[in-house]
């Protein structure tokens, strides 16, 4: 016993040797014979995207477990190497490098924030490594990126925004005022929604861009025209709580227009938080219903349990830890596409990366089910973009309840690029 408390150098060395042996021997037991397929995950673990990153990592771990429990990919176990990119485009490109060249990953997936994706994708293209983003940005389908970059897990913002217009103009009103952040993400909303509303016979009567440095919005609210029938808002970031509160103060208990927002503002935020009472009765876009709906499918129930989210959309272990439910399914579904793509391509190793991209490009539809719990989808192999259903929910008793589901066609638009004709 004395040896354990005050070890001699010899016992210490012996112990270390035993530890080394054990750690060297262990992986063999766990993973069996075949070398694992290594997937790199570019994760927003820190920085502005950290709330998303936390849930993206949980979703990836849950999806990985399902894949490995079902025998892995092509009979090989799968592992994921997570690397933090601090939600920064410069670091993002370095992380792509690290995952590809140092960790030796077969492909990379997972980044969300547009600027990080746009900053990292060129390097992925140069390294000729498949880069599957979960970003919902229009930059993939716009033709800005390259043949190695694909978005098979989530509908892009152009399609999301466009598909909202028919329901909003028919049910909430035709005269719309938009409030959006004054940077690229906000401009996608401004441009595509304005266009879609016009096509529906409605009109955007005012566009109020909020500079990214604002922390209070009172001086913008009087700019909302009084004839506004629908107030459309999308504000990403912590300022949303102030925005909603000030909007409530501005309208008081008097008449207010119908209010329609994008859930991006409130991802990872409890809609029943104090200060958000004003949202009661307003509508939101959701890509995936945060609150478990009465008609939830079996696949949805399975997915929700696997990622550890309760019926209200919060972590099962902490009711205050609200999920980024309208985005994180993209990680799960992207991994499903990776599995299918690797199996279709007979993927063995990095030499088959091109075959993998071609296999994904050949895909056309994804059926709803355990692999695609958010719903069925149409994949466009030319633009590398997937299209799915969108939902409109109403805040009732502090909970988001679905009132409408769009058709996939509502969001589809003409191809702007054909990546499949570009060289690798």
């Amino acid at each position: 016993m004395t040896n354990l408390i005050t070890p001699t150098r010899r016992t210490l060395l012996k112990g270390m040797g035993a530890g080394l042996l054990a750690s060297a021997a262990l992986p063999g037991h766990v993973f069996g014979q075949a070398a694992p397929i290594k997937l790199g995950f570019q994760l927003h673990r820190t920085g502005i995207g950290a709330a998303y990153g936390r849930w993206y990592e949980r979703t990836a771990q849950a999806a990985l477990k399902v894949v490995n429990d079902a025998g892995g990919i092509n009979g090989r176990p799968v592992e994921i190497v997570f690397e933090d990119d601090a939600t920064d485009p410069k670091r993002g490109a370095e992380v792509v490098e690290k995952l590809a060249s140092q960790a030796g990953c077969d492909l990379i997936f997972g980044p969300l924030f547009s600027h990080v994706v746009i900053g990292s994708a060129p390097r992925a293209g140069e390294l000729k490594i498949p880069y599957l983003v979960c970003s919902e940005g229009y930059h993939v389908a716009s033709g800005m990126l390259n043949r190695w970059t694909m978005q098979p897990g989530i509908t892009d913002v152009r399609a999301q925004v466009s598909s909202m217009a028919p329901w909003v103009t028919q049910n909430l009103g035709k005269k719309v005022t938009m409030v959006y952040p004054d940077y690229a993400f906000g401009y996608d909303h401004r441009d595509f929604f304005t266009e879609a509303v016009k096509a529906q016979g409605g009109e955007v009567i005012a566009q109020i861009a909020i500079p990214p440095t604002e922390t209070t919005f009172t001086r913008y609210l009087p700019q909302i025209p009084t004839e506004t029938e629908v107030l459309y808002h999308v504000m990403v970031g912590p300022a949303v709580l102030t925005f909603v509160k000030e909007l409530g103060d501005f309208y008081g208990s008097g008449a207010r227009p119908q209010i329609f927002g994008f859930i991006d503002s409130l991802e990872a935020v409890d809609t029943a938080s104090p200060g958000l009472e004003f949202l009661e009765g307003t509508h939101f876009w959701e890509a995936h219903n945060r609150v478990k709906q009465a008609d939830a499918s079996e696949a949805e129930t399975f997915y929700r349990a696997a990622v550890g989210v309760d019926d209200n959309g919060a972590s099962v272990s902490d009711a205050a830890d609200v999920a980024t439910y309208s985005h994180m399914f993209s990680v799960w579904e992207t991994l499903s596409v990776i599995k299918k793509g690797m199996e279709a391509a007979g993927y063995q190793g990095p030499a088959d990366r091109q075959k993998f991209v071609e296999a994904v490009e050949a895909m056309t539809t994804f059926d709803a089910g355990q692999d695609h719990p958010q719903g069925d989808k149409v994949f466009n192999g030319k633009t590398h973009q997937v299209f799915g259903h969108q939902f409109i929910s109403k805040v009732e008793g502090g909970k988001l309840m679905r009132v409408h589901q769009t058709a996939i066609e509502d969001g589809q638009y003409a191809d702007a690029v054909d990546y499949s004709t570009q060289s690798f």
């Binding site: 370095e94 060249s101 140092q102 600027h115 900053g119 390097r123 004054d182 940077y183 993400f185 500079p211």
Partner: protein, 308 residues
């Protein structure tokens, strides 16, 4: 003589490393070399002239966009764009200097910070042209130098730029201008009394610093294929200061040591924790406590007093 042996030897060592390191570290080294040019530029203003600027992100971003915009909209080839970016950085620094150098000390920090912030917001404002926060994707680095792969072209250009910057910095700090810059840092009043014009010297130093920063920004955008407004954020004003402080302010090789050390500190710490900035912070606190002059500054103080 021993100065030249040391610096040319360092260049030779870096060249050997670029060729022999495994691909991941070789590309990292190319990134580091470009950033070192930025740090060398910052060091000319801060380390040698004593101008504590918080606005160098503006000069770096001027280089990024000075190169990226003509490439994107005018189809300018990449190498001439590098010159355009370098010039943009220098001109921007001279313009900012004309106004900001009316102040000194803390006011100078605030004024430069303000200019940089205005530059950042301008990039966001002209989003349709600059791509704003999302940025622009630039042509593949494989088209940089005909006949060379993207990685080889990147390494070649990064090394050429670094070598030019290092030798230029060595020449500058040993020149009459360099000595006067140090005089401004040490005692501006006395220099004025001796007949020097502090404003002109500081303006020259800042403009030179801007040239280096612009060149680095342009190279970073062109070599790694991306220009975005995030390069104009405050972070890119603070980083060169940290690199220079770590390596040793007022030493020619300090920026190389500081930038490489900081890059790998973040890269390695990132494998173990999300609190990478804590590592950076602890490293800086330790540095201030035990080696306030930075790594090379301390070495110069204790052992190699002849280091430039």
């Amino acid at each position: 003589m021993r100065n030249w042996i040391l610096h040319l030897g360092t260049l030779a060592l870096v060249a050997v490393l670029l060729v022999t390191l495994p691909p991941y570290h070789a590309t990292n080294l190319a990134r580091i070399l470009v950033l070192v040019v930025f740090a060398i530029g910052y060091n000319l203003a801060f380390g040698y002239t004593g101008l504590l600027s918080l606005g160098h992100a503006l000069f770096f971003a001027a280089g990024v966009y000075g190169a990226a915009l003509p490439v994107t909209y005018l189809g300018l080839p990449q190498l001439p764009a590098l010159i355009a970016g370098l010039a943009a950085g220098g001109v921007m620094a001279a313009l900012v200097g004309l106004l900001a150098l009316r102040t000194a000390g803390v006011s100078f920090m605030i004024v430069t910070l303000m200019f940089a912030q205005a530059g950042y917001l301008t990039l966001l404002y002209f989003n349709p042209v600059t791509g704003g926060d999302e940025g622009l994707v630039l042509p593949d680095a494989a088209t940089l130098l005909p006949g060379l792969s993207a990685d080889a072209a990147r390494a070649t250009i990064a090394f050429a730029l670094f070598a030019t910057a290092l030798i230029a910095a060595l020449v500058i700090v040993q020149s009459r201008l360099g000595r006067t810059m140090v005089a401004m840092r040490e005692n501006e009043e006395r220099s004025r009394m001796l007949g020097y014009n502090p404003f002109a010297v500081k303006l020259a130093a800042l403009a030179l610093s801007g040239l280096f920063s612009g060149a680095a920004g342009a190279a970073y955008a062109l070599l790694f294929g991306y220009a975005g407004a995030s390069f104009a954020t405050i972070q890119y004003s603070i980083l060169p200061m940290l690199w220079v402080l770590m390596g040793g302010a007022g030493t020619v090789l300090g920026p190389l040591i500081g930038t490489a050390a900081m890059f790998y500190l973040v890269d390695i710490a990132g494998s173990y924790t999300t609190a990478t900035l804590l590592f950076v912070g602890v490293a800086l606190v330790l540095l201030i406590l035990f080696a306030p002059k930075g790594i090379l500054g301390t070495i110069r103080e204790r052992w190699l007093t002849w280091l430039p």
